[in-house]
Amino acid sequence: MSQRPSVMWRTIATPIILAVLLLAIAALSYQFGSRSFNRTVVEMFINIMVVVGLYVFVGNSGLLSFGHISFMCLGAYMTAWLTIPPVMKSITLKGLPLWLLHTKLPMWVATPISGLFAALFALVVGRVIMRLSGIAASIATFGLLGVVNNVYSNWDSVTGGQGSIVGIPPTMNVWNGWLGAAAAIAIAYAYAISRSGLALRATRDEAVAASGSGIDLVRERLIAFVVSAFIIGLAGALYAHFLSIVNPGAFYLRTTFITLSMLVVGGMYSLSGAVIGVVAISTLIELFRDLEKGVNLEGFTVALPNGVQEIAIGIITIVILMYLPSGLTRNRELSWKGWPLQRRLPRPVQTALEKSN
C-alpha cells in the first residue's frame, strides 16, 4: 500500500509558481520598464502583500473583513516613527515618547517591527472581535477600521493628524517589493497547510461539524487574524517607504474596497486567486492609464477622456463577477498537474442552514 504524499509535497508548487511568476515580472520591469512603470510594479507587489494578507483571514475563515486596512495604517505609521530622521520628528511629531523620538532604525529592522506591532494589536482586538460570527464579525471589523482611522486622523501630536508625515526614506525598488510579496505568499502558504489553517477551513465549510470535531473556532480565527495582520503590517511599512509620506486618508474605505475587490475578482478562497486578482486589476488600471494618455494609431493619437479608467474598472469588475462569480481562478490553485488550474481547496459547501435563509 503506497503512502499518500504529504500535504506539503502535493501543494508546494503553488507558492513556487506564484513567486517565480512575480520574479519574472520584476525582472522584466527592471530590464525594460520606465521609471514610472517600475513604480507601478512596486505598488502592485505591495497590493499583493495586502491582498494575500486578507486571503489568510478571509479565505480561510470565510468571514469578510473590512478592518484589515487598519493594520496597514498601523504598520505604516510605526515605520514612519522608526525611520524618519530624529531631527524631522522633533519638529512634526512632538508628542512621541522620547525613546522613540531619538530612534532611527534601518528599513530591514523597522519593517518586521511594524509587522509585529500590527500583529500584537490584532491579538488584543482579535480576542474580542473573533467571538463574533458572520456579518456581525464583518461589521465589528468595520468598527475597528473606523476607530483606528479616527484616532490616527486626530491624534495630531503623534500622527500629524489629517496631514501627511514626510521624511520616510524612499528605499523601495522592484527587488525588495518582490521580496515582500514572496514573503507574504510564503507565510500565507505556510499558514494554509498548517494544522490551524486546515481547522479554520473546516469551520468555514461546516461550522457545526467542525466544532463537533473539537475545533476551537475562536482560537483558530484569532491565529489567522494575527498572521494576516502581520503580513498587512509589513505591507503598510513597505507602502510608507514606497510613498515616503503617510497620511490616514490612504488607509480607509477606498483602499479597503479596492483590495477586497481584487481578492474577490481573483477568487477569495485561493492563494493563487489573491495574487492573480491583484495582477489582473493592476494590469487593467495600467492599461487604461495608458489609453487615457493616448495611443498612437497610424499617425493620429486617440485618447480616452480622463476618468474613464475608474469607470471602466468598476464595470469590468462587475462583468467578471457576473460570469465568474467565484473569481478568475474559480477558487482553484495553480499547480503543475491539471494545467493551468487544479482544484485543491474545495469550494465551501452551501449548508442547509444557509439555503433556508
Binding site: V128, A136, I139, G143, N150, G307, E310, L353
Partner: protein
C-alpha cells in the same frame, strides 16, 4: 432645559437621516440578501441630478429652480429610476451569487457611478441653494431649533408611517414582508420575485433621493462623497438592528444618531475629535452583547 431640547432635536434629526438610510439598505437586504454599497452613490447621484446639465462650480441650478412640488417628485423619480436600472442591469444577475460577491459587485457599481459623477462635475464641491428659509431657526420652549431639523424629523415620521401602512396593509407590502422573511418559501407560495425586488429597489432609490435632498439643503453644497458617510452608518445600523428586521434598522439608525450627538455633547472638548471612535467602539460593544442585533427577527435564529 433649552440645551437639552437642542440636543434632543439634534439627535432626532441626525437619527432620522440615518434611519432613512438604514431603511433603504434594509429593504433590499431583506428581499435579496444584498448589502447595497452603491446606496451612498445613489444619494450623491440624486443631488447632482439637480445640477445637471450645468457643470459650473457656482452651479446654476436647472432642476433645482423648479418649485418644490415639481422638484421633489422629479428627484424621487430619478432615485427610483437609477435604483431600478441598477437592479435590472446588474444585480439581477447576482441573485444566486454568494453575499461577498454581491457586495463587491455593488461596491464596483458605486465606484463606477461615483467616478462618472467625478468625470462630469469634477471633485470641487458645488454650492446648491435650496429653500434657504428652512435654515431659519424656530423657537420652541425657548430653544432655537433650525426649521430644517423639524422638517427632517417630520418627513421621516411621515415616510415611516406610510411605509408601515404599506407593509402591513397592502398586498405588495405583505408579499415584501414574506419575501424578507423567507424568500424561497415566498416564491413557492406565489409571490412574484422580480416584482417584489423591483419594488424594493424603487422604494430604496426614493429614500436615497430624500436623503440627498435633506443633505443638500442642510449643507448647501453638493459633494461627490456626500452619501458615503450616511451609507456607512446606515449599513452599520442595519446590522445592529438585526438583519432582516426593518423596524430594527430604523430604531438602530435613531440610536446611532442619538449616540453621536450625545458623545458630541458630553465628551470633554479634547476628546471630542475622537467622537467617531467612541461611536464605532460602542457599535462593537453592542455587537458583542447582541451579535444577532438588537431586534433580530425570530426567523433569523440559527437552527442547528
Amino acid at each position: 432645559m433649552t440645551g437639552l431640547l437642542q440636543i434632543l432635536f439634534d439627535a432626532l434629526s441626525l437619527g432620522s437621516l440615518y434611519a432613512l438610510g438604514a431603511l433603504g439598505i434594509a429593504l433590499i437586504f431583506g428581499v435579496m440578501r444584498l448589502v447595497n454599497f452603491a446606496h451612498g452613490d445613489f444619494i450623491a447621484f440624486c443631488v447632482f441630478a439637480m445640477l445637471w446639465p450645468s457643470i459650473n462650480a457656482a452651479a446654476i441650478v436647472f432642476a433645482g429652480n423648479l418649485p418644490f412640488y415639481l422638484l421633489i417628485p422629479l428627484l424621487l423619480l430619478v432615485g427610483a429610476g437609477l435604483s431600478i436600472l441598477s437592479e435590472v442591469i446588474v444585480f439581477r444577475r447576482f441573485r444566486n451569487a454568494n453575499p461577498a460577491t454581491m457586495m463587491i459587485a455593488s461596491f464596483a457599481l458605486g465606484f463606477a457611478i461615483r467616478n462618472f459623477l467625478l468625470m462630469l462635475f469634477s471633485s470641487r464641491p458645488k454650492s446648491v441653494t435650496l429653500w434657504p428659509s428652512l435654515g431659519l431657526p424656530v423657537e420652541i420652549l425657548g430653544a432655537r431649533i433650525p426649521m430644517l431639523q423639524i422638517v427632517t424629523i417630520v418627513i421621516t415620521l411621515v415616510v415611516l408611517a406610510a411605509l408601515t401602512l404599506f407593509l402591513k396593509r397592502t398586498r405588495y407590502g405583505l408579499e415584501m414582508r414574506a419575501a424578507a422573511e423567507n424568500f424561497t418559501m415566498a416564491r413557492m407560495l406565489g409571490v412574484r420575485a422580480n416584482g417584489v425586488i423591483l419594488f424594493a429597489f424603487a422604494i430604496s432609490g426614493m429614500l436615497a433621493a430624500a436623503i440627498g435632498l435633506i443633505l443638500a439643503t442642510n449643507s448647501g453644497t453638493a459633494d461627490i462623497g456626500m452619501g458615503a458617510n450616511v451609507m456607512l452608518i446606515a449599513f452599520i445600523a442595519t446590522v445592529i438592528g438585526g438583519l432582516g428586521s426593518i423596524p430594527g434598522a430604523v430604531a438602530a439608525g435613531f440610536l446611532i444618531g442619538g449616540a453621536s450627538v450625545l458623545f458630541q455633547a458630553t465628551l470633554p472638548p479634547d476628546a471630542r475629535v475622537f467622537r467617531d471612535a467612541f461611536v464605532y467602539g460602542a457599535v462593537i460593544v453592542v455587537l458583542l452583547v447582541r451579535p444577532q442585533g438588537l431586534f433580530a427577527p425570530k426567523s433569523a435564529k440559527q437552527r442547528v
